[in-house]
Every structure is written in structure tokens, then in C-alpha cells.
Amino acid sequence: MKRIAIVLFVTLVGVACLFAGGASETKASDSMRVALLLSGPANDQGWNAVAFAGLKAAEEKYGLQTAYSEHVGIADGEAAYTDYASQGYDLVIGHGFQFGEPAVRVSNRFPNTKFMAIESNVYSKNAASYVMACEEAAYLMGMLSASMSKSGKIGMVGGFEQPSIVKVVEAYKLGAKSVNPSIEVLEAYISSFTDVALGKEAAIAMADRGADVLSHVANQAGTGVIKAAEERGLLATGDSYDQNAIAPTTVMCSTIYSVPMLVLNAVEKVQNGTYEGGVFYLGMQDGVVDIAPYNSFDGIIPDSVKTLIADTRKSILNGSLKIPMIETPTRN
């Protein structure tokens, strides 16, 4: 009887590992090999989903051989980089601030592999950080939210209090204040990118305090924020990609971080042999950051607001307006 139990066990654990370990796929040989590390599921309808889309776009365009790992925790980043590098991958991309340090540490041992961390701030000879100027789009979201608020209070839910998130929250606040200096921006960091229930609860707390436009930069957990706004009949803005489909009568506009552009950019450099270490900032001018169309809100948002945002967008594009990158929270 014991033996059956053991066999059952091993099977159970084996099956569990099989499912939990994420997926990978392979294609034809001797093409360039690129791997992607994600902090959550590729299917999170947000931050990770856009990176996955980027990988797939690059795969199609350059005939790459790709692989990806989901649910790579902060502690597992180094192991995941080492794993792919020792398998001979040409480029290993970590999608998130927390992948920066591990990339640099591993990069010394694998000089022939190129390492990339998106949204980080460290580099070595063959490891680079690619930073999207998310604050440019967030500034516009802040302007839109403040313009559309009737109560004079708007809310912003952040994931972790880390530089890549803080800069979005702070730019959002600046944008809002530029339209209405007396606007009150309620902010909370929920210390999670995945807890949708907590994200929703934070948004409800803001709505209870009178906020009537809710925004987020909390990946998967941000979906809870949008849903809370929908339930209360409030307005919301999305993050990472056009999130209007989640709640068409609630999401006015979204920031767009075009990770595909970023990935294509890096892959191109690796192919040309020009990939090098450093911290690279890519923003609206490079076509990496933008805002989504207004969709069903096109007729609802007043023309004056639309013009204001379009003008500001233009000034960012032509370089006459520089949005500051603030990486430590300012609290009022």
C-alpha cells in the first residue's frame, strides 16, 4: 500500500511541476535564439502579455527560435538567466526592474550571451537595461484624469513601490496638477502585481473617499482597479496597452508601452553585432511609448481636453516638453 502511495505521489508532484513550470517551444535550428523571463503569467492581459506579444512579433519578423518562462520570482531571476545562457541562447530578456541585478551578475560568466533587462537601471559589458519612458504617457493620463474629474479627487493604484512604478505615479500626479493645481490625487501601493482582489479593494477605498477617476500601474492587479471603477460607475484609465476592452464604458484611454518595438530593437542590434551594455531610454520619440485611442469616449471627452492632450503630446514628441523622471515617491 505504501508503494502505491509513493508512486501516486511522485506522479502528482511530477504533474504539478509539469504544469507549474511554464511552457517553452522550439523551432528550426541555427537561427538566433531568444529567451524571455516573465514575473507572472504570459496571459495576464497586461504587462507580461505585451512582452509576450513582443517576443512573438520578433519571432515572426526575424525567424527566431524563442522560449519563455513564466512566474519567475525575484529570487529565481539569476537561476533563470543562468539556465538559458548555459543552453547557449543569444539573447535573454528579463521583463521588469527586478531582473536588472541578476542579469548583470550572470553576464560576467557568459560573455557570449547578451542580456537585457526591461525597465531596470544597471548594466555590464554584455548586459543592458532598456527603460521605457512610461512617465511621458502617464503625464498625459494624469492630465486626462484631472480634466474629466468632477469631484476634484482622482486615485492612482501602484503595484510595488519601485522606481519603474513610482515614476509613473509621480508623472501622473504632475500631469494632473498641470491641469488643475488644486486636484487631490489619492495614491496607494498595494505591494503586489497579482492580487486583483486587493487592487479592487484599494480602488474602492479611493472611491469611498470621493475619487471619481481611477488609474493604475499594477499589471494584473490593476484589472481589479478597472473593475471597481466600472462597478461604481466611475471613469478609469488603463496601463500597458489599450485596456478599453476590459470595461468599454469605463476605460477612457490607456498608456501604451510598445514592448514589441523594444524587443525588435534589441534583436536587430544583436544581429548586427552592435548590442552593448548600458542604460537606454526609449520614449515617445522612439515610438515605444504612446497613448491609446479614446475608443467609445471619443465623443464624451470635450474637444478642449482632447486638443490640450494632443498639444502636450506634440511638445513631448518634438522635445520641447521634458517629463521629469521621479523615482522616489513624493508624498503630500
Binding site: A5, L8, A16, I190, A197
Partner: protein, 310 residues
Amino acid sequence: MEPIVVVTTFFAASIRMAIPLALAGLGESISEKSGLLNIGVEAIMLCGAFFSFMVVFSTGSFFLGILAGMLGGLSMSMLHALLSIRFKANQTIVGLAQNFLALGLTSFLFLMSFGQTTTLPSTKVLGDLPIPLLSSIPFIGQVLFSQNLFVYLTLGCMVLAHICFYKTDFGVALHAVGEHPIAADTAGLQVHTIRYIAALFNGILGGLGGAYLTTVKLGFFQENITAGKGYIALVAVILGKRTPFGILGAALVIGGAEALQIRLQTAGTGIPSQLFAMFPYLMTIAALLLTIGSAHDPAALGIPYDRDKR
């Protein structure tokens, strides 16, 4: 905002946060009282959340959805019971393995059903159901009697469980098999049957806790939607000393701490957010310290019962 409104919305939020913990915790306490230690509460809740969402999504019926959530939870708890009782496996390991299994399984089935999309499949949520008359009582009516079905259900389950534990023969039998299965067996109690029944309740209640997340709170499913709530429910069981009202109280303390930290943050104090994130856990540790010493685990907790062994 008026102070009374602040307090009312805070208590309502605490209850919303506490419900899944209380339901799953109650289920686990029944299981533990019988001597079955199932740390796979996360798995039970996740399956409950997933299957109730799938059924509500495809049929539009909340009744069927909640039923499916219970069945989903049941599948996990019965698998645990089978391995622990029939095959005498290590209960902690089985529970742990199930947590991984459920995470992979629900993510996989979700991916199979909807694919890798950026559109979120979502359903309506079960609305609030104010109780006539009672809901018009000031404050209490707002906090307690203007809630959704699950809140009433949880309170009802707590009362029923309390009566069952301490006033019925089944309660005595449940405690007996958990404390001294050999004596219980000698006295003619079916040790294994009672443990299976306990696992049954564990699955149903945990499944309900998971179903609450998708059918009431969110209206959608995402991978790992429970985000560790099953583990917090385990804490509520210990903190509440396995008594129904103790667990409810513990769940309210943990849920209340979470609701409070979010509210304090939005109030715009100068305190770093990481401190706020720690707050619910600090509260839990403080509560554990204050109640130390008086806890009593069932003597046969986690030990498989073998009739032929002395």
C-alpha cells in the same frame, strides 16, 4: 467625508476581505478537528474560484456557478482525503503538492478555454441583497445587513458549525477521531468515514470561499487569483483556535488590517507603503502572541489512523 461614513465603509470593506478567509478557515477547522491536516486550502479555493467562474461564464447562472465552485473545492479536498486516509501519505506534502497542482491545472484550463488574449473574459457579479427592515438600522444595517448573499451564508455557516461542534453527537465524534482515533474506533465510531465527511465539508466551504472571489468580488478569473489567501486562511484557523467564531474574528482582524492599511495609504500620510503592506501580518503576529499558550491541537492531527497499529 463624514466620520460615520468612513467607519461604515471601513467595516464593510473588512467584511468583504474576511469572507473568503472565514469560509475556507471554517472548512479547514472541521478537517483539522477530525485529525486531517490539509494545507492545500489554496488549491481548494483556486479550484472553487475557477470552476464557479467557468460555469457562471458559460451558463450565466449563479446557482450553478456556486455549485460548481463547491464541487471544484470538493475534488481537491477529496483527493487529499483519499491519499491521506486510504494511502496514509504525508498530509502536509499532499497538501503542498496540491497547491502546485491546482495552480498549474487552473492556469492550464483557463489558457485552453480562452487562449492568450488581451481581452478579459468576465461575468456579472452577484449583487448586494439588503435584508428588509434590518438593513435600515443605522450603522449595523449598513455594515451587516446590506451585504451580499455570501456574507449571510458565512454567518449562517458559523452558527451552524458552532452548534454542530459543541451540541451534537457528530461534533463529539469529530473531536473523538481527532483526539484519540483508537478509542473512537473501540467505541464503535467509523474513524475513516468521519474523516471523509470532514474533508467533504472542507472542500465545500473552501470552494465557496474561492467562488466568492470570482462570482461576488471580481467577476473574472486570472491565473493565481487567490494570491495566497489559502495560506492566510490557515493562519486564521490557528489564530481562531479552530472555533467557528474565533475563526470569524481572526478573519475580520486580518481583513480589517488590510482594509485599514489601504485606507491609511490613500489618506496620504508620509509613511512608506512597505510598512503598510506589513501591517496585516504584524497584526496577525501580535494577535498570535496575545493568544499564546491556550491553543490546543487535536492530538492525532496529521497522523494517519491505522487500525492494526498500537
